[in-house]
């Protein structure tokens, strides 16, 4: 018996080598299948339009920047004589475009939409985390009357279908002149994100021992100084994780954006599906635009992986 106990293969809690191998193989297979659509998006961004719609689908292809050029420019078709009269092409995109008998007419809307996404996502994240941190601190440390009801109320605002909220928001914004403005979208996303921020940050702040602030206050700090100098530095990891979750939500959001913005404040998600070339979707441009849009999130996901579980369950599950 004692020999068996030292041998890991006989332990109840340690899986056997065979079961590990089988499990590993199946999980790796699933991961590979999961990655194929993403790799395909990435590859399509570097294909030429004919390659992107060839049959059978091309796995090996000659990479070209045409998708990226098309993503950032608008082009018009011109006669050979006109193109020749322009002189030598300026830069790579100019050359690629001329090979298709076209000239670059101007910049596309992708870059401004991307900037809108950045401004709205970072703006709303800043306000949501700011409001979320102070509210979470108050809920965590003080006896707030009806605290449970207020917290549930804050959470319940997340249960409404976005379209249902969008109807009155649309009317309200039209009245006060916030339609299709970045400020309007920042306010809206802040309101949606603040519920997540309060719930997550309350969990993080609950984990900081009260004794730290109390000690500081005994030494003459006011409540606000103790909050600023003792609690905030302790909560910084939690605040960072919460901020990334808010950022990801605002970055990915589509329903409000497509219904409430059309031009100046439109973000990238409603814009990307409208990228079209001559005769249908310009899939290499869509692939390039999608890839550029997804990369920040990939980085964040890897940074966040320790807090992921907590974030997606509103702090209900802490590892």
């Amino acid at each position: 018996m004692s020999a068996k106990r030292t041998n890991a293969a006989y332990s109840v809690v340690e899986p056997t080598t065979t079961s590990k191998r089988v499990a590993g193989t199946l999980v790796v297979l699933y991961a590979i299948v999961t990655m194929i659509p993403l790799l395909w998006i990435f590859a399509t961004g570097w294909k030429s339009p004919p390659d992107s719609i060839s049959y059978p689908p091309k796995i090996l292809f000659e990479p070209t920047a045409e998708g990226h050029c098309n993503l950032f420019t608008t082009r018009t078709r011109q006669t050979d004589e006109f193109i020749e009269s322009l002189g030598p092409p300026r830069g790579m995109c100019d050359r690629i475009t001329r090979e298709r008998n076209m000239v670059i007419a101007g910049e596309s809307n992708y870059f401004p939409r991307f900037v809108n996404s950045l401004i709205i996502a970072f703006g709303s994240t800043f306000f949501a985390v700011l409001l979320g941190t102070i509210s979470a601190y108050a809920f965590s440390r003080f006896k707030v009357p009806l605290a449970d009801d207020l917290l549930f109320f804050i959470l319940s605002t997340r249960m409404m279908p976005p379209i249902a909220v969008a109807i009155p928001i649309y009317l309200m914004y039209r009245e006060v002149g916030l339609s299709d403005t970045r400020l309007g979208m920042i306010l809206l996303y802040t309101a949606v994100n603040v519920s997540l921020a309060v719930w997550l940050l309350k969990g993080f702040i609950d984990e900081i021992p009260r004794e730290y602030e109390e000690a500081a206050m005994v030494d003459g700090y006011t409540r606000l100084q103790a909050f600023w100098k003792v609690v905030l530095p302790q909560a910084s990891t939690g605040i960072a994780a919460t901020a990334i979750f808010c950022l990801i939500f605002a970055w990915n959001e589509y329903a409000f954006a497509v219904l409430l913005t059309s031009g100046t404040a439109q973000t990238a998600p409603p814009f990307i599906p409208t990228i079209i070339g001559e005769g249908g979707m310009d899939w290499p441009a869509v692939g390039a635009g999608t890839t550029i849009f997804l990369v920040p999130i990939l980085v964040f996901t890897i940074l966040l992986r320790k807090h992921l579980l907590r974030g997606i369950t509103f702090g209900a599950v802490r590892k």
Binding site: I134, A138, A216, M281, I297
Partner: protein, 336 residues
Amino acid sequence: MARPPRDAHAFPIESIVTDNSILQKGADAVARATPDGVARRVRGLSDRAVAWIFIAPTIILLLAINIFPLIWTIQLSLTNYRANRPNAEVRDVGFRNYERILGNEDIWFSMQTTASFVVLTIAIQTILGFTLAYLIDRKFRGHAFWTTIILIPMMLSPAVVGNFWRFLYQPQIGLFNYVVSFFTGAEPSSFTMLGDVDLAMWAIVIVDTWMWTPYTMLICLAGLRSIPDYIYEAAEVDRASAWRRFWSITLPMALPFVMLAVLFRGIENFKMFDMVNLLTGGGPGSITEVASITLKRQAFEAWRTGYSSAFAIILFVTVFGLGSIYVKALNRVKQR
């Protein structure tokens, strides 16, 4: 003050003391220089005042952006208002909008579509997610890396990724049709996932499963890891079979977590809009028209604002009611 820090990473209390003594001197100097009233006010914000100052902005924002619109929606739902005709006369119609919605077969069809979408996706994702979590919990070499890879889809934008799946689903040129034909021998142009009455719902279910299985997987994995080893060791002493151990230990103890995953996925998919809007837009016809799509068509295409407000309220009450009942059940399972 003598209490030692709880662990190595805890806040260094000594540094507060030193910092503070300097700060205190400064504060004392300021206090001496300022009139009594001001000094008291600076030092004296009561905890109660801080609590309200800290909570008020959040509550005000939520009242303005969530509750005020909700009340307005209730009010609109009792009228025949149309947002595209702001100058038309608005009449009070009582509960007629609600009567018309509950008596409308199309609405019921859309509710059924939503229900079958929610049930189908949750069933598949729970089983698949739990299986994956169970496999990952075998702790094979490199499981942390592969888990991170599997998690990626759920963090991406459903709209942007859903849009790209339209490309994968293209007949003839799409990768999905090609792979299916490679394995089944069917002609790749012989079926259109998004345009076929029988296949369109499955097309959406596949994308949703691809995207959200990691979500249930992650929560189930937390559940499996929450089961202490000694319970399995005790079961081994009692010579319980592996099958028995799974059904009497693993599954019941992970159940609250599984139910939590079902709750979150249920609410999210009940609200489902972006992915369906991009993949099929509710089509072909209205086969994949889930509730949010119906709502959007009524509110922002037909501009029947009053009518769609009533539908929005019905949806909200439904998701809130179902959610509350479910949370009660979840709490009962947890207490067992």
